[in-house]
């Protein structure tokens, strides 16, 4: 393929894809140049597929056929739009009408009234996009999207991930072309270095330096690897990028290969992500067909090939040396560093390993230049970061923000606040390796260093919002249970240390802890941080240390007062019926599995604390809110 051919494909598809990027009038003008009057985008990411987007697409296609519209309306199945809690999501362009929680029935109505007759079905739109006077705002103007800046996610929810020409339409493979034809490997590395891009997998190591070391290592055979073993529970940005824009990873890995002198790459992806694996396989096939992978790429004599390797459910394989050991076909145990992978990595050859989100930035950095990229973000953290926003927050989903955005902006503006009028308590970032940011630090700008300075970490991008109903000791215990499960067992500090830490937490949540336990936790945690073999063990104590730092009073309440202030820890709570509110409907008594509730009809009931097993069934059944925990 030559530049002329690449630009020809770009030109042929540009208008079709740009209809989805520009708003209203301009889009309508553009749409006239394409063969389709309107385009319907339906999210085919995991979130929306789980809430039924396949049925929606089937219903849509059937309804279009029935109305004879299949030649005028284009249906595109895209990757994630980000607003996962509103799925399945459907957007109609050029007007940008955003239909949330689409159903097959709703779709039939939309096809008839909107697509055929031209009247937007307002009652099915996402309510934030409809104004009182009946006018609608496009999605890009909503609070959720306004403060975001999409670089890594630039194509997610815009293009059809199974169609390489749509990727090319939005500057796809221009970065690779530029690197191969007008830059030396050293210039490519310098560009990445100057951009200030740091590893998005959690470590935050400067990407350009990693490449520089790998290039400097002698050897004919080198490898480029992509870490798509996203194991942090509650983080799903890597999956969304692979599902929504797989070509950008292929392009970036080819650029990395050129920079360090490698001709072979591996993408290590979780087997739990079937849609991502499938789209990436299709993307690799298409890239080969169009000549972006294989021999003599773009006629420059550069060869590069990619293959996919499936993980098999081991969190530790997200650690770089463990990941490589796993690709080699072994138990995925980490090994001591040095030697670092850049010197001696996969199959003992110099290797560059980057995370999916890191790669997602590369093609744009090369194409648009490091100056553009480094103008975004803060002094030490350039660019943007994608977060998977979850937990007790209204807009659960995927957000990409410039570094330096405050937590308050993420929660209150983008996230739409905490549901049910509850109070914000803390945000957990960095998953099992990270810590929490309490409400007093809500104005902290999010970047690598400010998060470290308050005892948390950027992590790979999971951000779980916790409200007042969350017990911080219980959350620390949750993460410890996870690391106990996932510790590979190779080194003692991690294997034994995580178990001992969990034992202390078990004691405390059962009301049997002592103040001395807190001191022991602190000491043990420090030993683990220093002496564990890999980051899993070194960071495993973080969830305890940070909750202990910010919420010590909660630990003390569990230990000294034998109470759980958030009413979560079972051993420390009891269920009670408020006599004034109880109507004596007997529903709780009938549902109690251990017959712990007694009382006569129309009289307030009583719970026998000795019999109660604290299953909570009575509370979830009570229609009058008469049952509380203390």
């Amino acid at each position: 393929m030559t530049l002329e051919e690449l630009n020809k494909i770009k030109k042929e598809n540009e208008e079709l894809v740009m209809v989805r990027k520009v708003v209203k009038e301009k889009g309508e003008e553009l749409a006239k140049h394409t063969q389709y009057r309107k385009q319907v985008l339906v999210c085919g990411g995991t979130g929306c597929t789980s809430s039924g987007s396949k049925k929606v697409v089937a219903a849509l296609e059937a309804a279009l056929k029935e109305n004879g519209l299949e030649d005028e309306i284009l249906v595109v199945r895209t990757g994630c739009f980000g607003l996962c809690s509103l799925g399945p999501i459907m957007i109609v362009y050029p007007e940008g009408a955003f239909y949330a929680q689409a159903t097959p029935e709703g779709v039939a109505k939309i096809v008839k009234e909107h697509l055929k007759e031209g009247n937007i079905v307002k009652e099915l739109l996402y309510k934030e996009t409809v104004h009182e006077d009946g006018s609608i705002t496009p999605l890009s103007e909503t609070n959720f999207y306004k403060k975001q800046m999409r670089i890594a996610l630039r194509n997610c929810g815009v293009i059809d991930p199974e169609n390489i020409e749509e990727y090319i339409a939005l500057d796809g493979y221009q970065g690779l072309y530029k690197a191969l034809t007008s830059m030396t490997p050293d210039e490519v590395i310098k560009e990445v270095l100057d951009s200030g891009l740091r590893g998005r997998g959690g470590g935050g190591f400067p990407t350009g330096r990693k490449w520089m070391f790998a290039k400097a290592s002698p050897g004919d055979v080198k490898y480029v690897c992509c870490n798509a073993d996203e194991g942090d529970p509650g983080a799903f940005m890597d999956r969304s990028i692979l599902e929504g824009d797989p070509q950008c990873i292929i392009e970036a890995m080819a650029i990395a290969g050129y920079a360090i002198g490698a001709h072979h790459g591996f993408v290590y992806v979780r087997a739990e992500y079937p849609i991502a694996v499938q789209r990436l396989s299709i993307a690799i096939e298409q890239a080969k067909k169009y000549g972006f992978l294989g021999k003599n790429i773009l006629g420059t004599g550069f060869d590069f090939d990619l293959e996919i390797r499936l993980g098999a459910g081991a969190f530790v394989c997200g650690e770089e040396t463990a990941l490589m050991t796993s690709i080699e076909g072994n138990r995925g145990e980490p090994r001591p560093r040095p030697p670092f992978p850049a010197v001696k990595g996969l199959f003992e050859k110099p290797t560059v390993l980057n995370n999916v989100e890191t790669y997602a930035n590369i093609a744009q950095i090369i194409y648009k230049g490091s100056e553009w990229y480094s103008s975004i973000g803060t002094e030490t953290s350039r660019g943007t970061k994608v977060f998977a926003l979850g937990g007790k927050i209204t807009n659960v989903g995927l957000v990409e923000i410039p570094m330096g955005t405050t937590l308050r902006e993420i929660i209150e503006e983008i996230g739409g606040g905490i549901p049910n009028g509850k109070k914000f308590k803390a945000a957990q970032t960095g998953g099992p390796s990270g810590g929490c940011i309490p409400s007093e630090h809500i104005d902290t700008p999010i970047d690598y260093d400010s998060l470290l300075s308050i005892g948390s970490m950027m992590g790979s991008g999971g951000m779980i919002i916790l409200d007042e109903d969350t017990c911080m000791v219980d959350i620390a215990k949750f993460y410890l249970e996870f690391t106990v499960d996932e510790s590979c067992g190779k080194c003692t500090p991690c294997r034994v240390g995580t178990r001992k830490l969990l034992k202390y937490l078990d004691k405390i949540t059962q009301g049997k802890g002592t103040m001395e336990d807190l001191e022991n936790i602190d000491e043990l945690a420090k030993h683990m941080q220093k002496s564990s073999l890999c980051a899993l063990g070194q960071t495993a104590p973080n969830p305890i240390l940070s909750t202990l730092h910010f919420f010590k009073d909660e630990y003390i309440a569990h230990i000294q007062d034998k109470t759980c202030p958030a009413c979560v820890c079972k051993s420390l709570i009891r269920y009670e019926i408020i006599a004034d509110k109880c109507k004596g409907c007997t529903l709780c008594a009938r549902n109690c599995p251990v017959k712990a509730i007694s009382g006569t009809v129309k009289q307030p009931h009583v719970i026998d604390a000795d019999k109660c097993i604290k299953c909570g069934l009575c509370m979830s059944n009570c229609k009058f809110g008469a049952i509380i925990t203390k």
């Binding site: 509650g234 799903f236 081991a314 690709i327 080699e328 076909g329 072994n330 959350i475 069934l617």
Partner: protein, 169 residues
């Protein structure tokens, strides 16, 4: 393996399929993991007999195969139920009460996570994040995802599968 130790019932066709997978991967560096993935796809689990075939086919020791098969949580050495229930215990789901969902399923089926019902109909496992955090709490039964669950709904969903089975008989 006490209650789950069934006698191995692999067929000739399955064996041929496995042999062809081994043949294709024989010279691929790091072939063991991809082969075990395929083997589990063919047999549904990785009994010792299958591990032995993989070991012989790839020319590695059985202990090495066993070591890898037991390291990764996705590989199972015991058979799974006809319907595989998987409750997400990822952070987003946990914060929204997925532990209660798991407890309810265990209670209704009378088995614990990691076990299979005596009739072979259901097995329960927990997993860490299926990536559908917007629907938390979530469980999967085979390939179907059930989101925004409450303990109350669990019974209804399980009954659907039981009824299907009753109808099939």
């Amino acid at each position: 393996m006490a209650e789950n130790s069934l006698t191995f019932q692999g067929t000739k066709a399955q064996e041929e399929q496995l042999m062809s997978v081994i043949e294709q991967n024989k010279n691929v560096p790091g072939a063991l993991l991809p082969v075990l993935h395929e083997a589990q796809e063919i047999y549904g689990y990785l009994p010792i007999e299958v591990q032995q075939m993989v070991a012989d086919g790839l020319g590695v020791s059985l202990s090495e195969v066993f070591g890898v098969a037991t390291f990764y949580s996705r590989f199972s050495l015991t058979p799974k139920g006809k319907h595989k229930i998987s409750v997400c215990l990822g952070t987003a789901c946990y914060v929204k009460g997925s532990d209660k969902i798991l407890a309810e399923i265990e209670n209704q089926l009378g088995i614990k996570s990691g076990e299979c019902t005596p009739d072979g109909l259901f097995s329960i496992d927990s997993c860490r994040c299926v990536g559908a955090c917007g629907l938390a709490p979530v469980m999967m039964i085979d390939e179907d995802v059930y989101g925004k669950l409450t303990p109350k709904e669990v019974g209804k969903i399980l009954k659907k599968y039981m009824d299907e089975e009753g109808g099939a008989k």
